[in-house]
Amino acid sequence: MLAALLVLAFLGVWQAYTSIGGPGELILPSPLQIGEALIDDRDLLWDDFLVTATEVGLGVLCALVVGFVAAVALHRSPLLRRATYPLLVGSQAVPIVVLAPLLVFWLGFGLGPKLAIITIICFFPVAVTTLDALDRTDPDRRKLLRTLGASPRQVFWWAEAPAAAPAALSGARIAVAIAVIGAVLAEDSGSNSGLGHLLKQSNGQLETARAWAAVVVLAAFAVTLFYALVLAERRLLPWAARPGGSPR
């Protein structure tokens, strides 16, 4: 309740700021103008949302798989870690502008390069948090499982993976939140639809209210994905849930 009031207050201040000066609606529309755009352009937003949602959904899946697999591989093999971890870190410094033509060359103009871009952007938080958590596994726990007859694979599944799961899910939540912006960047090239495309077109046409409406949809989508993972965590890792049960 109080939380809703705080959010309303935030919107109120914004509205007031735009009406008494502010940078003008071409740069920052008021919440009411954005709301209007949301309603007027709902068909357009919905169609583009479906496109972007598909990209994000598939991209996040790829990113999670790549992130987890990378973390496990680097955790298992110190050699691999020394050789490839710096490259993975470095991959985060490669801007889309130099990457995009290469991806188009390799993967064509379809969904391929978009998924690749989302994956490159999103796998990293998952890989880092998961790897760190795997490294932090209590060595005594590993020892215990070995005396109980566990193979290295079993040690992983019974002790290391569950212990690393909460941190991995922190990484996954970061990933889903930034996947949306990843899709926007990915739609820079080779797309004729999607919220990112809409956003840039609207921005280019000074339809700023519509651009912000697209931002609102994107943000709502990111928040939804984020909290969906919070809920999933409660179900998947009941033992890790805080007794207080306060939402993350």
Binding site: I27, V97, A100, P101, V104, S189, Q201, Q205
Partner: protein, 323 residues
């Protein structure tokens, strides 16, 4: 170029990937019109229109063979050729510079001289920085009297927020129309009027390989594109409809206004010239300017452009070569 093919005996449909220079907009109205009216299909082309990640991507992807044709800019093409790219301009779709010096009406910048002591926003493109220098020199304004700042693609917002007094890099047909519609009363100075040699802002580029082996493809493309562009000229309101249909996020009012404004430069100034005609002597002059400014390293090559695939152009480049 290969001359064996002609359009009359239309063969089976061929796929053609066309990369735009930027997001779809009014400059591309003729392309979408050709697409929607079936002009491309009639010449046996199945055109796949793609948008690039940044304006340099189309040339790279044509060079790499991932796109058959790309829309680019004359200066960009000359830069690419200077770097050794085997790319050729095969026709213009806008025959004049669009890049301009622009300021909101309240800034009272109507002449280059008015820039003295002002801040100019640029898009961070080196040859446009050279434009600014050229026009300032031409007007006798010491370049150090003008502050420049690279505002990326935020030219219009930078003006609106009052953080720059003028910009160099916005298109008179697009941003100019936009600002007029927003009642910002822009003052626009076109480059070719203040000392920059004229050039073809938007050109269609193909690889040398394509011009050698698949000239018919280009020829058919331009034939259809002329039809599309003529439809737009005949009825601009109806002409932009396909563009808007394909890109529902575009605003009809704005795009139609831009198209009306751009119509004169969609076609060559001289009616004698075929659609898409590029004037080799103008290219030569512009190339020399680039060389003088250190933007390129050598005189441009006559094979940088060819008009041989344009509708109504005689086969071959003999009409008026560079030399």
């Amino acid at each position: 170029g290969s001359k064996e093919d002609d359009i009359a005996g239309t063969p089976q449909t061929q796929k053609l990937t066309l990369m735009l220079d930027y997001f779809p907009n009014a400059d591309h109205a003729g392309i979408y019109a050709a697409q929607a009216s079936g002009a491309f299909a009639k010449v046996g082309l199945d055109v796949d229109i793609q948008t690039p990640s940044d304006p340099s991507a189309p040339l790279k992807l044509v060079e790499a063979g991932r796109a058959d044709l790309a829309i680019s800019y004359e200066p960009e093409l000359l830069l690419a050729r200077d770097k050794g790219a085997k790319l050729v301009a095969v026709g213009a779709i806008v025959n004049k510079p669009l890049t301009s010096l622009m300021a909101l009406g309240k800034e009272k910048i109507t002449r280059v001289e008015d820039l003295r002591g002002k801040t100019v926003g640029t898009a961070g493109i080196p040859y446009q920085a050279a434009y600014l220098k050229t026009i300032l020199e031409e007007a006798g304004v010491p370049p150090e009297d003008v502050k420049t700042v690279d505002v990326g693609f935020n030219l219009v917002p930078a003006m609106i927020s009052g953080k720059v007094d003028a910009t160099l890099g916005a298109f008179w047909n697009y941003e100019g129309t936009q600002l007029q519609r927003e009642k910002k009363d822009p003052d626009i100075i076109r480059m070719e009027t203040v000392g920059v040699p004229t050039y073809d802002e938007l050109v269609v580029v193909a690889s040398e390989e394509t011009t050698k082996d698949r000239g018919a493809l280009v020829r058919r493309f331009f034939q259809a594109l002329r039809q599309g562009t003529e439809q737009v000229r005949a009825d601009p309101a109806a002409g932009v409809t396909p563009l808007l249909k394909a890109n529902p996020d575009l605003d009809r009012g704005l795009q139609e206004a831009v198209v009306r404004k751009t119509l004169p430069v969609f076609f060559p100034a001289d009616d004698e010239d075929p659609f898409g005609y590029m004037d080799p002597s103008q290219w030569r002059a512009y190339g020399r300017w680039m060389l003088d400014r250190g933007l390129i390293t050598k005189e441009i090559d006559p094979t940088s452009l060819t008009n041989e695939f344009l509708p109504g152009a005689p086969i071959g480049n003999e009409r008026e070569g560079l030399d």
